[in-house]
């Protein structure tokens, strides 16, 4: 197509996902600073390292979109891993193991979802509670031991298709599916509707509870999938898996411009958020900085993102207000 069209499309894309240029600048800058950084292998590295975060973050995005929050991701990650490593399960054929783990994720999400939808307990508290329960349960399953995974279960961590590592493929699939469901299915639209105005949703007779449950189940399932890829790469299950992970995931989602008030945000942004976060981390490893600096940088990035997002929503509202009036029916 002709250049101007491309330009306008680019501009539109940037306006929709302001994180896109940020990521590009970040990558270019780091490549300039460290020549090994630009290597294909390294970029693949980043992609692989980002994939569990991407997967978990998409699930979290759905929850946050309903004006909820899920603090139990890290613990779900651990419990899923624990179940995967349990003797009884690990013995099964690979497919069966994955099925069991995903089922576990669904059930955990279901517990969260039912609790949030049917008791009036705020999501923050529900998931705060389940966060502890799931980790405790995981402790039971593993007996707080380090357990190696059988080689067959590490496949999805190390395998590759046409040079693209399995985790990356998985993450890409999840991201695309997540975006499609959010924009193009009634469930997705209802998720945004419920987050946008629970009252209106009830007045309109939407299946509010169903939608809530659905969102949390999605988060649980994706946490389990993330756990599969993560543990497959780690090759073993330690009691410390997923500790504090919830905050990283939430950071990624918020970084992606989804507001914690619910109703506004995008899956694409979430994916970008996860990628930016991982790139920053890798960049810091390259620069040999200490992990505390990493924390500081991560906090700074998050803060910047939030401020930017706040400003952006204001401008959008302004623009829409003026045009919204003008557009003839």
């Amino acid at each position: 197509m002709n250049p101007p069209a491309v330009a306008t499309r680019l501009r539109a894309a940037v306006r929709r996902e302001p994180l896109l240029p940020v990521l590009l600048v970040l990558l270019l800058g780091l490549s300039a600073a460290y020549h090994e950084f630009a290597a294909v292998a390294n970029l693949r590295n980043i992609a692989v390292q980002a994939s569990p975060l991407v997967i978990a973050a998409v699930g979290m995005a759905y929850v946050i979109m309903t004006a909820g929050i899920d603090l139990s991701v890290g613990s779900m990650l651990f419990l899923a891993a624990a179940i995967e490593s349990a003797r009884a399960v690990a013995g099964l054929p690979t497919a069966a193991v994955f099925a069991v783990v995903c089922l576990a994720g669904v059930l955990m999400g279901l517990l969260n979802g039912l609790a949030v939808a049917f008791t009036r307990v705020p999501a923050l508290i529900v998931t705060l509670a389940t966060m502890q329960m799931f980790r405790g349960a995981g402790g039971h399953v593993t007996g707080q031991q380090n357990i190696d995974l059988p080689a067959k279960l590490r496949g999805i961590g190390t395998a590759a298709l046409l040079g693209v590592p399995a985790p990356v493929l998985l993450a890409a699939a999840v991201a695309l599916a997540g975006a499609f469901v959010f924009r193009r299915t009634t469930f997705g639209r209802y998720v945004q509707a419920v987050g946008s105005s629970p009252d209106a949703a009830r007045n309109a007779g939407l299946p509010v509870r169903g939608v809530l449950v659905g969102a949390y189940v999605a988060a649980g399932l994706l946490a389990a999938v993330a756990s599969l890829t993560q543990t497959a790469r780690l090759g073993a299950v330690q009691p410390s898996i997923g500790q504090g992970y919830e905050l990283t995931v939430i950071t990624a989602v918020v970084l992606g411009g989804t507001t914690l008030l619910g109703g506004r945000g995008s899956i694409g942004g979430t994916v970008l958020g996860a990628l930016v976060l991982t790139t920053v981390q890798t960049g810091l490893v390259f620069s040999g900085a200490s992990p505390y600096v990493f924390d500081i940088v991560r906090g700074g990035v998050l803060l910047a993102a939030v401020l930017a997002a706040a400003a952006r929503w204001r401008n959008l509202a302004q623009a829409a207000r003026l045009t919204g009036r003008a557009t003839p029916a």
Binding site: E36, N146, D148, R154, Q230, L234, G235, A236, T282, S290
Partner: protein, 312 residues
């Protein structure tokens, strides 16, 4: 005499079996081994054990010790401190209630109120690792990736410093990159992959604890560098602790050496010290540093039986 003691304690059906309170900072593979060691020794000596875990929360540990001493009225406490400094308050509490206070594995800064302490010797362990590297370097020069544990953990610091000190100015071994892991497997994995990425000529890795080994191995696998000893692609690996991962890797001949922590010593000596202290005698020596046991391919057959990880 310990058996006799136990007979006395168990035999007299008075049920007045003395209880030892144990508070760990956290629970993982090596802690499980230490717990088992204490339990074993305690059973032998006829004590029952009250076990608590503080989930890496210094205040929670203080509370647990308080509950053990004041409410559960245990006869002695054995502690793996979450923080060697902050445990002081609990120690002084024990002193006040004159309950013997024993520290294992992690050193306690203020020894005043500590009845007995047995820890590993992180610096020595680091040196032992360095020794293995130097031996290997005789055949071919090593370019080393050094992983570092939690930067707030004395053990991690000791293992790093011992290693670096022993290698300082030695030809043949060069540390090309140091990666902080914060004792976090995922961070170890990513850090290792990134380092291998940054410098493909790395041919040796120092892993400061066995529980990071699986992460390192899968990073190597991903980089196509996980090969048994003798294979030109092989990366020279040495770790500390000696848990199951380590032993498996030794058998698989992918791990060159492992400095095993003498957890059984921790159990035996601390319980012995409890008995002495309860008997009213002073414990001497007050502080013991138990060197790690070097397990390498050369001595594997003879030594592996004494390594806790290989026992199971």
């Amino acid at each position: 005499s310990s058996t006799g003691g136990s007979d006395a304690a168990n035999g007299s059906g008075s049920g007045k079996k003395r209880t030892i309170g144990v508070s760990f900072d956290l629970l993982n593979a090596i802690r499980q081994a230490e717990k088992a060691a204490i339990q074993k020794a305690a059973d032998a000596a006829g004590y029952s054990v009250e076990f608590a875990v503080a989930d890496q929360d210094a205040q929670k540990q203080a509370s647990q010790i308080q509950d053990l001493i004041q409410t559960k009225k245990v006869s002695a406490v054995i502690v793996i401190a979450q923080d060697g400094q902050q445990i002081a308050a609990s120690a002084s509490l024990a002193k006040a209630r004159n309950v013997p206070f024993l520290a294992i594995d992690r050193a306690v800064a203020d020894q005043a109120n500590v009845t007995f302490q047995i820890t590993g010797d992180p610096v020595a362990d680091g040196k032992a690792v360095a020794a293995e590297f130097l031996a290997a370097a005789k055949t071919a020069p090593l370019k080393v990736l050094e992983l570092v544990g939690g930067l707030t953990d004395q053990n991690a610091i000791g293992r790093r410093d011992g290693f670096n000190a022993a290698l300082a100015g030695q030809p043949g071994v060069t540390i090309v990159s140091q990666v902080p892991t914060d004792w976090n497997p995922a961070q170890a994995l990513d850090g290792t992959s990134n380092a291998l990425q940054k410098d493909p000529t790395i041919n040796a890795i120092y892993v400061p604890s066995d529980f990071l080994l699986p992460s390192v191995q899968s990073a190597l696998t991903a980089a196509g560098r996980l090969a048994p000893i003798g294979d030109p692609k092989h990366v020279f690996l040495v770790t500390i602790d000696g848990d199951q991962n380590g032993c498996k890797a030794m058998q698989a001949k992918t791990l060159d050496a492992d400095i095993a922590t003498p957890v059984d010593e921790f159990g035996k000596q601390s319980i012995a010290a409890v008995t002495t202290a309860l008997g009213g005698q002073p414990v001497a020596p007050k502080a013991v540093q138990a060197k790690g046991l070097t397990l390498n391919q050369a001595n594997y057959a003879t030594t592996s039986s004494q390594v806790w990880g290989c026992a199971s």
